[in-house]
Amino acid sequence: MLAGGGLRGDEVFGEIPGRNTVVVADKVAINAVLAGCRPDYFPVVVAAVKALCHPDFAYHGPASSTGGSAIVLVVNGPIRHRVGLNAGNNLFGQGTRANATIGRAVRLTMMNVMQTRPGFFDRATLGNPGKYSFCFAENEEESPWPPLHVERGCRPEESAVTVYASNSLYQVYNQLAATPEPLLRCFADALSNLGLPNVKGFNQALLVFAGEHSEVLAKSGWSRREVAAFLIEHARRPLADFKRATRLPGEPTASDETTVRALFERPEDVLIVSAGGRAGSWSACLPGWGNKWTKAVTAVIEEGSA
């Protein structure tokens, strides 16, 4: 497994400072073997683990929280095809070894190397099935937009993985929309429900547009930024809504009925990916872990001597 990544066993990938924990290559390799990875998958696992150790990800919060986040791994670049990662039908489901085992290797590394065990440093109230494994590739070839990793500063010929903490996944349905506005209203509504964790600060969201919806957006010519700007404009609610639901303290005042609170602030905080099957009017909304202190991190996948 180490040879698959062109690595020595004693190489340090990073640390989790709040836990006094250093992450070393041989321990990650052991967990990749346990997960059932092929050696050529290992560079993806390594890049994901390094991203988890990046200060911007702020590991302890999303990994420990009662919110029970899955660590979502979005893979871009040529390695997708070399290792056979699924970017199409049944995107989040079973059936593809690379998707299943890369995500599993990362979770096992979290448990066994980064001390993230349920009931101790993993305080998930419910967790979610994505905590077993959550890895997929972007369908760059049929996407309306440049690949996610290019949007986030990598070169197209590089491979990269973006790690992102999300405590849920819901599918968003719309079969009739032929233009972006009605389609995206469904997403804006999904992103602004009263049970969302992030009503007190701006965090991130990940949207995965599958074939039919991607095609609607492609035909419109809307850029990623235009899609994000529309969602930010419409993912907002009056303060009074939040107060009536005790998501914010205090009784609603007359001005609270007309004062709106946006759930997202910057277009780059709405991560947009094209992936999933061509058939079906489904896409997905993955709200970020409920705190603005963690950010998605994109790490280049170094294939070493593999």
Binding site: R19, N20, T21, S64, Q115, G119, F120, F121, R123
Partner: protein
């Protein structure tokens, strides 16, 4: 918990208080810093939805043990 451990490493007396359901997590944090058995306090869970007077009552009950730990 981590804040208390780090403050004490810098010579500042500190006391961590967790709600009771987080005792195992507090103990895990202490162990990860080589401090198994590190003393800390707890209060019944939850606290976020308490009225002010109930929260004050919880704080009142913690004053004495907090002082005891700070001056140990």
């Amino acid at each position: 918990m981590l804040d208390a451990i780090l403050l004490e490493q810098h010579g500042v007396p500190a006391v961590a208080i967790v709600t009771d359901v987080f005792r195992a997590t507090g103990e895990t944090m202490a162990m990860s810093w080589g401090l198994a058995g590190y003393p800390f306090l707890d209060t019944p869970h939850p606290i976020a939805n308490l009225r002010d007077k109930d929260l004050d009552a919880r704080a009142d009950r913690l004053v004495e043990p907090v002082v005891a730990l700070l001056t140990r």
